[in-house]
Amino acid sequence: MGRLLTLGCLAVFAASLAAQTGVTRRSYDTEFLGPPLADPVLQHAKETFVLFGCAYCHGLNLVSRGEATDLMHSALVGRDENGSRIGPLLRAGIPQTAKLSPMPQFSDLSDQQIAALVTWIHYARRQGRYQELTATPVRPGNAAAGKTLFDRDCGSCHALDRDLAGIGRKYEPAALRAALLDPKALKVERSFTVDRQKDPKLATAQQRHHALLENVSAEDVAHLVTYMASSSVAHR
């Protein structure tokens, strides 16, 4: 009985404390926003994108509504590096336009808020483009064209007779395509330990693969996969 009384008193005290401090549970529209992401930085970026009204026109997952620019396929977004192009555009808006409503300017946002918007745009673009590029069966491409692309975009880090030797035997074409667009080795949980949070090798690899995923066409993916699949060279 005494224990029950103690628990009851504690509950009343907790409720009273919550009331005094104004602590209330704010509702979160999980149905629209989806469940919170595991990465808190990405979750914050997503919420920033929603709170400043970007999702209203451009779509939370970049499926735009009405006349808004399609950020999933925008060339400007594809060329952007860490906000180099998106940031100035957000600050200035696009007042001169043939569209019904000009793109507003967001000059009052902090640098951190602009960075969060840029982070979400690139993340959502990668998710969407991965879905698009892997939605259909792998189609045959041109191995010679694939080699040219490989030498240009992949050759500074990879070689089919070195780290990727025998990859054509190791993976089915669909799995090879998935690995090319979104390598498992780069999907590591972000660490904030001092020695790891600025790992230049990992950062560079992620940046290059992200840029590839954000810009590569389905046709070029087919060429690359055909070239890589044709390689049966063993590791030297």
Partner: protein, 309 residues
């Protein structure tokens, strides 16, 4: 068409076309009377532009959910976008031109009793349609303009509103009067387009085309276009059908929750209340929220209720 204070009473309370006497003589109209009263706050008639429900695709299959949300938000009046009503013909293997042609055919000859059926749905929920939102453009034939007004009238709308410019407005001139309705001009903030309604001068020019034209002043966009909302009401209140009430920042700034931007929402609502102007306040916002949209509408509506308390 001019709407006097007395007519405003019948408009917003009965929420139907035609005379108040006729409206009150019908049970459905009497229900609409109660409907509009639900969001009549201290003499200011509020309603909702359901763009606010950002998560709810504006298609006729979602109309039931739309009505449930309007009731939940205490709204008795709505500006109903045509997409909540009309079928869509676009689909796999159908070109945009073919879909447009099919829609045109449907509008000119809708199924018998189609609009009446939707009117019953709305009446049963206590929702009256103040305006019917249609983005009229150059692709409309005259017969199609006429048919849209006819359908909107059956829904109970007093006017058709849309985001069209001066050129399309010129073509619209003959149609609203035929149905004893108005055409509502809706402004955006594109000051670079000479055809667009964005500046006060452009809106005055549009209104001068017909006495049946009335302004649906979008307060958010006019603020973003650096317009003087209070001055506009002072000068043109007798040509206004309503306002889209929301908040944005000046100089083509972003949308914000009510009270965080530059739109003088409180002043505008108080002007409507104190001058007893027949101007309907339709809430519409584009700012983002992490809350369910129904909760956000509640919060913004509460802000407006406090403004006219």
């Amino acid at each position: 068409m001019r709407v006097t204070r007395r007519e405003f009473g019948s408009t917003v309370l009965a929420g139907v076309g035609g005379t108040a006497a006729l409206a009150y003589s019908r049970p459905a109209a009497a229900q609409s009377h109660a409907a509009a009263n639900r969001s009549l706050i201290n003499g200011v008639q509020f309603g909702l532009q359901p763009f606010c429900y950002h998560d709810l695709p504006m298609i006729r299959e979602n109309r039931g959910e739309l009505i449930r949300r309007l009731v939940r938000n205490g709204m008795g009046m709505v500006e109903l976008h045509a997409t909540w009503v009309e079928p869509r013909f676009i689909g796999p293997g159908v070109t945009a031109d073919a879909a447009r042609e099919q829609l045109r055919g449907w509008r000119v000859k809708p199924p018998t009793g189609y609009y009446q059926g939707i009117r019953k749905e709305l009446d049963a929920a206590g929702i009256s349609v103040y305006t019917y939102y249609v983005n009229f453009d150059d692709s409309y034939t005259d017969a199609e303009f006429d048919a849209v007004f006819e359908g909107a009238k059956v829904l109970g709308a007093r006017g058709c509103v849309g985001s069209f410019g001066l050129a399309v407005s010129s073509r619209l001139v003959p149609f609203p009067g035929r149905h004893a309705m108005f055409a509502g001009l809706h402004n955006h903030d594109n000051l670079s387009d000479p055809d667009a309604y964005a500046s006060e001068a452009s809106m005055v020019k549009g209104l001068s085309l017909s006495p049946d034209f009335r302004m649906m002043l979008d307060v958010r966009h006019f603020t973003a276009a650096d317009g003087d909302c209070v001055g506009f009401l002072e000068r043109h209140h007798d040509r206004m059908a309503g306002m889209h009430v929301g908040d944005r920042r000046k100089h083509n700034g972003r949308s914000t929750p009510f009270g965080e931007g530059d739109a003088p929402i409180i002043e505008l609502l108080r002007m409507v209340r104190d001058n007893r102007w027949p101007i309907v306040a339709l809430l519409e916002f584009e700012h983002g929220t992490l809350r369910p949209e129904v909760e956000e509408v509640d919060l913004m509506f509460d802000y407006c209720k406090r403004a006219v308390a």
